[in-house]
Symmetry: none
Subunit: 173 residues, 2 copies
Amino acid sequence: MYSRVFLPGFSFMQYLRHAYMIKRFAIYGILIAAAAISLQLIQYKILIINHSIELYSGVLALIFTITGIYSGQRLSRKKEVVIEKLVYATPEPVINTQTGEVDEQLREKLGISKREFEILELMSHGHSNQEIADKLFVSVSTVKTHTSNIFLKLDVRRRTAAVKKAQDLNLIA
Amino acid sequence: MYSRVFLPGFSFMQYLRHAYMIKRFAIYGILIAAAAISLQLIQYKILIINHSIELYSGVLALIFTITGIYSGQRLSRKKEVVIEKLVYATPEPVINTQTGEVDEQLREKLGISKREFEILELMSHGHSNQEIADKLFVSVSTVKTHTSNIFLKLDVRRRTAAVKKAQDLNLIA
DNA sequence: CCAAAATTCATACTTTGGTATGAAGGATTT
DNA sequence: AAATCCTTCATACCAAAGTATGAATTTTGG
């Protein structure tokens, strides 16, 4: 198996280079300003009512902690760890992996008939022409005709090569 | 090229499942507690000196904003983007999928020699006896001898069946 | 070192595989 | 109806694969 992992590591300066970050900072500024205004309101109300500096401090701390957490998350959102995994895949998958069935399109594309395909499969199972003939209730001559046509269509000269090529093309398993 | 991108998307609950996050929250708790204590000190000093509630509020806001930003960044640091790139790769012919190494044990177990195995591989690639002979710089007679021995050891009578059996046994790819 | 195993090669023979060609019947399409 | 494709089969021939046997050389393991 072969795999690589990339950890780009965005620096803070790289981060600042992005123009859209300026907009983001502006949003934080507005947020903080809004918090400051509401702070003023809360401040006077609380002071007028009972001069509870402790409660005021708690509310203030809560508000700015929440604001800070939100800002912090926004600021660090783009600090993402990017991992690229290289994994194996078969070229031109033509067998439907879901159903396990053969892709009819490739068979058609290669001009291989259904009967020829049947014979190709039996061939790949290691059967001789005689055995294939017996299984399909046809003569050896018929099997030979089919195999020859298969070889032409797969551009090979031997059954072993035909099986190999069909496997590589994912025409057969 | 064929590629897929996975975006895991850690939910907050998934996030909480991690045991080490509990430690992190504990650290934040301590931080906030420390901020609260220093708050008490600052509170009294400022109030005693000039009762400046505005300055006090500003300092308080600053402290908790910073604390919040720090916490927020910590909390959102683990956002990852995992990218899996699927690349074409032809599996090596003689590899055991579990160990990733040549399955010498199976070969030995079957009593197949290294040379015989070499020929079995070339056979599975669709080569004729003549082609194998040419590749290995030996005579066709030698190849025939080897192939016959392979067939005996794999208990088959044809090269196609030998290849099939070797593939089923995971002796070759 | 010696025995066993592995590798090499040959000769003769049988079997199987593959090519070429032709042909006939059926199904489908135009 | 004609053309085309698929499937079937046959005959003949050549090429390749596989078996059997024997033998020489090299490599390997005890």
